[in-house]
Amino acid sequence: MKRTVLVFVFLALSLLLLSAGKIELLFWTHEDPNRTEIENRYIEEFESMYPNVTIKRVTYPSRKIQETILTAFAVHKGPDIFNMEINDEYPYIVNQRVAPVDPKAAGYDSLQAIYDDYLAGVLDPVTYNGKLYGLPLELTNWCIFINKKYFREVGLDPEKDYPKTWEEMLEVSEKLVIREGEILKRRGFDFRYPYYLTFLVPMVEQLGGAFLSEDGKTAIINDEAWLKVLEYFQEWGPNGRNLGSPTYTNARKLFNKDNNSVAMCLTGLYQEGRIRADNPDFYNSGEWMVVPFPRFKDAVNDLGSAYYGHYYMVNAESSKEKQEWAWKFIAFMLNHPEEYLTKVGLIQPKKALIESDIFKNIPYADVFLNDMAKSHIITIHERAPMMQDYLKEVIEAVMLTRTSPKVALRVLKMKMQELLEEEW
């Protein structure tokens, strides 16, 4: 009996000793096959450098990850490392659910050294009360991808006749579209529903409107600009010129197939890596090109699409030891900005990368960078996800349910103002 107890105690102690010093990091991120390939390799390399560390990388669809992380955090079971679009991540910063960056663990001498490593301003969205809460996995703006074949097919020269203004976008799309009665067989172009903060708000801003006032206390500035944009979408939709609709399959997803279902789409530089992975023949054919985000003919502001960032963050409820290892691992991954760019098409906004030949040699990287330079980051607000949904409602109302733009705008203003004035 005594011997059994002794053996049991010995085994328990051995297990305890073996597990002591072992670190297991849980890392949740969105699906991207090209990124999965390289990050799984980084994990292997990191684990072989530090055998006491195990990293479990779990991926979720990009439209589902927000709710998965939120529900996990709500019950204090969040992952150690995660990333989402910045407007989804910002409430985590405000509510102190993420840990500040540990410069030493991330391989920097000081916090200032981190700011010096990146382009000016790109860390502002993750700087709160003087502390830095994330490191950028990518910074993304959207431009127009064009299938040149379909342009030539209807007698257009893609290099010259591509749409420079939103008004031209209507006309060019009308020429490219193929309909069977009311049903669209091929769309000329279609928007990237429902990411309205990224493309709709800049369209309004081009016309001199704004989503929020500078002090953030008033919503929907300049009704005329808003009405013009809402009228544009009404004209675009199935009850207007019938050029596209949120109920059709996302144009970005169809573009890579080169199957005569869409001629242009709105997406980021990462699309290039995805075309290469999905359809190498199309990628190598030279039959695609990228042009800037259009402006309205009478635009008063020269603005491209807004850009957003995905920032790696660390759970503030993880142990201090885990937090330190998490930043060490994040910094290890982010130490490969060239590979993220060439293999995945992600722009990590480090000064050295942007100035490198590698960046300059990426097809159309200059188109994205020029537009980004003329734009600003997506609206950052604790309630931004709600605001984006209000924009979704207003666009659906004018495009699908025949609501007049004036009525839809009035409802939007009312809801936004109520949201801004509500005490939390």
Binding site: R63, Q66, E67, L70, T71, F73, A74, P91, Y92, N95, Q96, R97, R179, E180, G181, E182, I183, L184, K185, Y193, P194, P238, S245, P246, T247, Y248, T249, R383, P385, M386, D389, K392, E393, E396, A397, L400, T401, W424
Partner: protein, 306 residues
């Protein structure tokens, strides 16, 4: 009965009761943990204002969430959407599942095949069912092609997901397709429990199939009808995944913003867990009321084969 015998009889009853409690208590325990506790907890949470991500202690607001909801146009729109969906789905579900069951029972051959064919959509998860239907309802999908072929209207887009009326109809269609087989099987079980000699006697007396169904089968399956109507109504009131997937695929939210969808958006998008809990409690109250009402209406309609 002698006193001693009576006492021993009571002892047996008591023993049976004790064992009854012992056997039932694990289920009661699990039911309390997984059903009663969440309901009580939701009610408690509904009395507070709390952000799902905030570490600050929740603020007690009493019944303010309820008063806000009762004056909120969005909430009343949800009530309307839920009512339209429930009425549009519940009535056809009960009627058609009964008709399909009668049809299957009247077949001499291929009964199993028909049961399987009707039931098969019920084994799919709601998410998969909605995803399949999204492909069918796509403007270039089978729904437009089929309807245009039948109606000889080439090129018409029936806008299954794009107008108020059609998007409501589409959610009803998906739900009806998914659940009609499930309720048909329940009706078949109810009809199979009716003694065969009732039908045989009626047939000998010269009753037609319609008379047999209306005067014998229908009155005798009232307990099954009650069960189906309660279950179908509760199912309809808590519909979620079809509407959720449709909204994610570009359909306008407002016409199909049923209470469960509103609860989801309020909690997950807006982080307002107190308000979402208040909506859950209201939905629970509605379900409880309709169940009570159906039970009360049907109390006098118990069936005996004696």
């Amino acid at each position: 009965m002698p006193r001693k015998q009576k006492r021993s009889h009571r002892g047996i009853e008591r023993k049976k009761a004790i064992w009854g409690w012992i056997f039932v208590s694990p289920s009661l325990l699990f039911f309390s943990i997984f059903s009663f506790y969440p309901i009580a907890n939701a009610f408690y949470t509904s009395l507070f204002k709390k952000d799902l991500l905030s570490l600050r202690p929740p603020k007690f607001v009493g019944l303010k969430q309820y008063t806000y909801l009762l004056s909120s146009p969005t909430f009343w729109n949800s009530m309307k959407a839920t009512f339209v969906f429930t009425m549009g789905t519940f009535v056809p579900l009960v009627v058609f599942s009964m008709v399909f069951a009668a049809f299957i029972m009247s077949r001499k051959r291929f009964q199993k095949f028909f049961q399987m064919a009707y039931y098969s959509p019920a084994v799919l998860s709601s998410v998969v069912a909605a995803a399949i239907w999204l492909l069918i309802l796509d403007p270039r999908g089978l729904a437009n092609q089929f309807l245009n072929f039948i109606m000889n209207t080439p090129g018409i887009d029936h806008k299954w997901l794009a107008t108020v009326g059609m998007v409501r109809f589409s959610t009803i269609l998906v739900y009806f397709w998914k659940y009609v087989g499930y309720f048909t099987i329940i009706f078949i079980a109810g009809m199979a429990s009716i003694p065969r000699n009732f039908h045989e006697a009626a047939r000998i007396d010269g009753a037609s199939s319609w008379q047999i169904f209306w005067h014998i089968t229908f009155p005798l399956i009232k307990p099954t009808t009650l069960l189906v109507s309660i279950v179908a109504m509760i199912q309809c009131l808590k519909t979620f995944s079809t509407q959720y997937l449709f909204v994610q695929s570009g359909a306008p939210r407002s016409p199909i913003d049923v209470i469960t969808l509103n609860i989801y958006f309020t909690a997950i998008r807006d982080h307002r867990i107190g308000r979402a809990s208040a909506m859950s409690i209201i939905l629970f109250g509605i379900m409880l009321f309709f169940t009570w009402l159906q039970l009360r209406v049907s109390r006098s309609e118990e069936v005996s084969y004696m």
